[in-house]
Amino acid sequence: MRHLISVLIENESGALSRVAGLFSARGYNIESLTVAPTEDPSLSRMTIITNGSDETVEQITKQLNKLIETVKVVDLSEAPHLERELMLLKVRATGKDREEMKRMADIFRARIVDVTDTTYVIELTGNQGKLDAFIQAIDPALILETVRSGVCGIGRGERVLRV
């Protein structure tokens, strides 16, 4: 099962390596991990996408909690939540491909944020599925590079993760 775990952790050097080290040492898998400071700069928030049985994920949350710098851990995937990922795509945009690429970006509600005679940089946000679908939809020969931020997650409604 895929799980999305959010962690509030002290924004200290070394905190990230403790989390990454925990996953590798115990053989848990990380599909993606994002981290950045919160509105309180002394706290970082991580979003971790992992896969595992219920028992494994229970151990993962317990082990994350056990880290001295961890303030809070929640498995967001246990309840309604939102997931977003940002992707930047550089594509070849010449001749008739130029128009076609613009059309595809519009359909996916992506934005073209950089334009040259021969290239576009397209910015797209959404859940992982949407980003994957966009890549599927365009001609792979035109993709020059892609970069994805990894997933950020937040609970819906009154479900709030804070200190």
Partner: protein
């Protein structure tokens, strides 16, 4: 008061009531050693290898219940300390390790004696810190001690760059620590505890299964009171020997790979298992699947939630300090008017007595030899009246010491259970002797293990530690040889050690008393002399034992509790 970082270190240690620091100097800690030189409240114990510094601090902590402290230099000092740190980590022992580091401006430049100590030790410490600013030093040290001793204890390392120990700042030691990210639970959930008491009272075949957490929490009295009250049998893991009196009828011995017949069968067939500060590790429950084949209710008390339902699923998890939780159990039993064990346990005890009647630890000592290791430990028990602090190394001798020295009190049995580190025995004995200067301290070791920290005989001379070392010399990496005999077709690959030293002579070379014992009749007199004539000296008894003796019972790794090998005849 304006102090240097080094002076702040000394001040902080004094505020934490540290009496001994086990260490070894070097470039990056010269300022700290200079500060030690100018005070006389804390005694520095100069070891001969940094591994032993951490082991000794760890042994001190195990014997005393206080935080042990080690001090090492950067680079090789820190890497030498790693085995000691990992050993303490695996057994949850509170130790604070101070390591020197190259000056902050040189970090990352591959400076002389630079290693990423925080990175190297990260997976084997409870927590670690790199202090980059002298202004943070006092706070960090306060936190280090707090983290080491609270919750599930463990080693905490503080890495101090040389310029930080030289820099000056205003010293103020914080009175308290408050960390929003670290607040270990102490009290257990009352509803869960009531349910657990009910399950325990209704059990027809209960067992108390106690682990190292009981020792760490100083909960032996509560455990004993509870066992007596409910009349259940008790098994204690290798880490918890002494948490319940071994000479008591309710004690079944230890469970697991080299546990007793009665402990393993009782644990397997119990209908309610009360696990107290134990973790169902693979040396106890070799096969969780086999264990799960029998229905039972598992109550699991542990201060570390991640120990619960890790290998064996708990039906009633209780997170909390085991001493508090057991006290709650007793209070509830008081309220419910339970004062004596229930008659309903009689059939269960009948079964247990039948298992016990197998006398799985019986052995014979032929009068003319060879000396049986079991006989050595039993004689040691007799001569010390069961009252010594016993440390061991790792191997067959460790298991014999655990099986045959009946520990009636906590903190008398010091060994490396989790990491299984050969070499701990002698430094543990040193630490224990500093912690309990009046107690007889015996190190039961093997001719291979003792050589992993034998240089510490020199430290023992310097500090006049009258330890008694009992070397169960079988000429083999005995435990390795046993596995090769049983599971590798008798192919004894590299388990025989040629060219062993004359240990008695070696001990004498270090300035101690060395005695070699070859015949059974000489054993007891030699041991008695060690504690009388040589009471104030370190005595190294090199006891030549039967090289073919194996440790039984034995459960092969990955097998179930009922799949015991009781003797060579079972093979």
């Amino acid at each position: 008061m304006l102090l240097t970082g080094a002076e702040i270190v000394v001040q902080c240690l004094q505020r934490e009531n540290v009496k001994y620091v086990f260490g070894y100097p070097g470039g990056a800690v010269l300022h700290i050693y200079d500060a030690f030189f100018q005070q006389d409240e804390i005694r520095h114990v100069l070891v001969r290898h940094e591994q032993a510094a951490v082991h000794a601090a760890d042994g001190y902590a195990r014997a005393s219940g206080e935080v042990g402290v080690a001090l090492v230099t950067s680079g090789p000092g820190a890497t030498n300390a790693v085995t000691g740190i990992a050993t303490a980590y695996c057994d949850s022992i509170p130790v604070v390790i101070l390591s020197g580091q190259v000056p902050t401006a040189m970090i990352g430049q591959d400076a002389f004696q630079e290693v990423d100590t925080v990175g190297i030790t990260r997976p084997c410490v409870k927590h670690n810190f790199l202090v980059k600013d002298v202004a943070e030093l006092a706070d960090t040290l306060k936190k280090a001690f707090h983290i080491a001793r609270t919750g599930r204890p463990g080693p905490v390392l503080v890495d101090i760059p040389k310029d930080v120990s030289a820099a000056k700042c205003e010293f103020r030691y914080p009175e308290t620590v408050s960390m929003r990210s670290y607040n270990p639970v102490v009290k257990g959930h009352q509803g869960q505890i009531r349910k657990a008491v009910k399950a325990l009272r209704e059990a027809k075949r209960p067992i108390l299964y106690a682990g190292g957490g009981v020792i760490l929490a100083d909960a032996a009295d509560e455990l004993t009171a509870l066992a007596r009250r409910v009349g259940a049998p008790v098994t204690t893991t290798l880490m918890a020997l002494g948490a319940y009196p071994a000479s008591d009828r309710q004690f079944l011995g230890m469970p697991g790979m080299h546990g007793t017949y009665e402990a393993n069968l009782a644990l397997h067939h119990a209908d309610v298992v009360l696990s107290v500060g134990a973790r169902f590790d693979d040396r106890v429950i070799g096969s969780p699947e086999h264990f799960a084949s029998e229905p039972r209710t598992i109550i699991h008390i542990d201060i570390d939630p991640s120990s619960i339902s890790k290998r064996v699923k708990a039906d009633l998890p209780i997170v909390g300090d085991v001493r508090h939780v057991l006290a709650d159990f007793l209070r509830i039993l008081d309220e419910e008017g339970v004062t004596a064990p229930s008659e309903a346990l009689a059939p269960w005890w009948e079964r247990i007595e039948q298992w016990r009647a197998r006398r799985c630890l019986a052995y014979e000592q032929p009068a003319e030899g060879p000396i049986k290791p079991q006989y050595v430990i039993e004689t040691l028990w007799k001569v010390t009246k069961g009252d010594a602090i016993v440390t061991s190394d790792v191997g067959q001798h460790q298991m014999w010491a655990a099986q045959y020295y009946r520990f009636d009190h906590p903190r008398r049995w010091l060994n490396s259970g989790g990491l299984g580190t050969m070499g701990v025995g002698l430094p543990y004995a040193m630490g224990a002797r500093f912690a309990r200067p009046d107690a007889p301290v015996v190190c039961v070791t093997g001719e291979a293990s003792i050589q992993m920290c034998i240089q510490e005989l020199s430290t023992c001379k310097q500090f006049r530690l009258p330890l008694k070392i009992v070397n169960l010399n079988n000429g083999y990496l005995g435990m390795v040889r046993q596995w090769q005999q049983l599971f590798h077709g008798g192919r004894y690959s590299e388990s025989y050690m040629d060219s062993l030293p004359d240990f008695a002579a070696l001990a004498r070379a270090y300035g101690h008393v060395g005695i070699r014992v070859d015949r059974p009749a000489d054993l007891q007199p030699a041991l008695e002399r060690a504690f009388s004539e040589h009471a104030n000296e370190l005595v190294f008894l090199d006891v030549r034992i039967d090289p073919r003796e194996n440790v039984y019972p034995m459960i092969q790794g990955g097998k179930g509790l009922t799949e015991m090998i009781l003797s060579a005849d079972d093979l």
